[in-house]
Amino acid sequence: MDILKKNNVVVKGRGSRTLLFSHGFGCDQNMWRYVTPAFEDDYKIILFDHVGAGRSDLSAYDKEKYSHLEGYAEDIVQICETLELSDVIFVGHSVSSMIGALAAIAAPERFRALIMVGPSPCYINDGDYNGGFSKEEILELLDSLDSNHLGWSSSMAPVIMGNANRPELGQELTNSFCQTDPDIAKHFARTTFLTDKRDILDRINIPTLILQCSDDVIAPLNVGIYTHDKIANSTLTIMKATGHCPNLSAPKETIDAIKAFLLDVN
């Protein structure tokens, strides 16, 4: 299987250094659309969709492989190998922050720095650690997804109808961005929100930028501080932007923060 097709890899930009952008749960590479243009003059830009998201090859979705973040990290290393990339600056949103960290640990020769947007090594509270959600809340999320009480009617409708000869019933409501197969979304949610990667943070030894929004319910401030404490060579930037997706809600602030960090790295 051609990894570039499998992951719908898109290469653009004019530069010798590489920025590799990795989207998070619930989205696809489109979520970088307001950020990447600012880097196209100086960097080679690599965009892709995780298998199961966007325009990736859904048939390549392997439940076993993708029940661990390591499975996603493998794909990233493979993309770097195929494109013969080195000194990559990896920009990961949300769960992709940890996926990037795993890739950098697995293939240190490929990566120069990590930029984590709204990272969380563990979403579930555990003793003194406050991940933002109780175990019950995460189970409720997974249950809502399982019982289809949550999500798109458009993804719901074809599931109910299973109507291959009337595709218009499904297509009519489908969104042009962040498409996802409901079964895969459920599984990715499980992999994402039950993950605990706190133990890998001290194994990250390349320069790391943590972009923390000021009011993020998915990755709260204390999680950003925790992540910063555990990663030796890390910088924590607390943004004015609120929410979980500053790359969409505050692209300029996000771009400025990344550029400032890149000055230091270069």
Binding site: L145, N148, H149, S154, D215, I218, G243, H244, L248
Partner: protein, 377 residues
């Protein structure tokens, strides 16, 4: 309010503020960061929170945890990128902890430069809809398991047919060999005639059983297994013509065989195919006109055609003519069960050949063709 309230109402003009406040659905507006700046009474009712307390909270905050995560990771990004989301199923989280299923429509209001100003949300009660969905899913699950049950039952039936056919064969072959023996030993012509009738009936039964067993085999997935060899087809096919001529003594069969070399195939299966097609033509064709048979073998190409005259077969029937149990309703079929053409087509398929039927006012033709080089030696 005063006592002449109703009078005042008559005078009042419908206005949007009142419509929003007393709407049948929830309305909310958030700023670009998702903080609620406006909400109506309905939403407040559902949440069991005064409007003033709703304002200032993040919209995702009034959703149950699943929806909250979904809003932050998926819906929010979508609103920013495509500007709207439609009919999203989420649950409101009421003050007492109750989950209240709703459908959400939202769009990002943008200014003339395309910059986001705020997000408008329409919230519709979906309690009943959720029940319908659950019912549909339940029904779908029930049907799926019913279909699996049915499949098991059909398979069992096919197995029964196979076993029955197999078990009937032994006693029948005793009858056939008994009558063969009697035929030789009997002296009385009347007895001989009677035995001959028994013999023909037994042979006919044997054919029917073979058809049933072939049918069961194809249904159970084993299909028709070929025993391939270089078969001397010409005398075999001639024998079939003679056999059927005995069964249809008043009919004329014109045949032309050009088969000089042996044909690589399963000879007895090709004979079965021919016998079924010829019997079909004799049964359904115009009784006053001859049936024309032609067989040609050239290099790897083998071709067999059987044509008869008579009322043409309508196209909608031709489309299904090779399906099992397809029989003409008006006349009893020669094969009794409507399996003859089905089995012929299965034999053709096993030989990687084609069997097609064309029917016009002039004639009805069944044409079998195969390339013997496709068959593995």
């Amino acid at each position: 309010m005063s006592t002449n309230k109703s009078y005042i109402h008559k005078e009042q003009v419908e206005n949007f503020q009142d419509l929003m406040d007393h709407a049948l659905c929830g309305y909310a507006t958030t700023d670009t960061q998702g903080v609620i700046i406006l909400a109506n009474n309905k939403l407040a009712d559902w949440l069991q929170i005064p409007i003033e307390e709703i304002k200032g909270r993040k919209f995702s905050d009034i959703l149950a945890v699943g929806g909250r995560i979904y809003y932050e990771t998926h819906l929010g990004p979508l609103l920013r990128m495509q500007g709207h989301v439609d009919e999203v199923a989420v649950q409101l989280l009421a003050k007492n902890g109750d989950r209240f299923p709703v459908l959400l429509n939202a769009y990002e209001r943008r200014d003339e430069q395309g910059q986001p100003m705020f997000i408008r949300l329409l919230i519709i009660k979906a309690t009943d809809r959720l029940k319908y969905e659950a019912n549909i899913q339940e029904e779908k699950r029930r049907l799926a398991s019913e279909i699996l049950d049915q499949r098991d039952r059909i398979k069992l039936r096919d197995q029964l047919i196979a076993i029955l056919g197999h078990d009937l064969r032994n006693p029948l072959s005793s009858i056939i060999s008994g009558t063969d023996f009697l035929q030789q030993s009997l002296q009385n012509e009347t007895d001989k005639l009677l035995v001959n009738i028994v013999q023909r009936s037994a042979n006919r039964m044997s054919e029917l059983i073979n058809n049933i067993m072939d049918f069961a085999r194809t249904r159970l997935g084993t299909g028709i297994v070929l025993e391939l060899s270089d078969a001397k087809l010409q005398p075999m096919l001639q024998h079939i013509v003679q056999e059927l001529h005995v069964q249809f003594p008043k009919r004329q069969i014109n045949f032309q065989f050009h088969i000089d070399e042996p044909v690589f195939c399963d000879g007895s299966r090709i004979c079965q195919l021919f016998s079924n097609l010829l019997a079909n033509a004799l049964t359904h064709g115009d009784a006053s006109a001859p049936v024309e048979v032609q067989a040609i073998h050239q290099k790897h190409h083998f071709e067999l055609s059987i044509s008869n005259q008579g009322t043409p077969i309508p196209q909608n029937m031709i489309d299904h003519i090779f399906e099992p149990f397809t029989r003409e309703k008006t006349r009893p079929s020669h094969n009794g069960l409507g399996l003859g053409l089905y089995i012929a087509s299965q034999i053709s398929h096993a030989h990687q050949g084609t069997l097609i039927c064309t029917s016009t006012v002039e004639k009805t033709v069944f044409l079998f063709q195969m390339d013997t080089s496709l068959l593995k030696k």
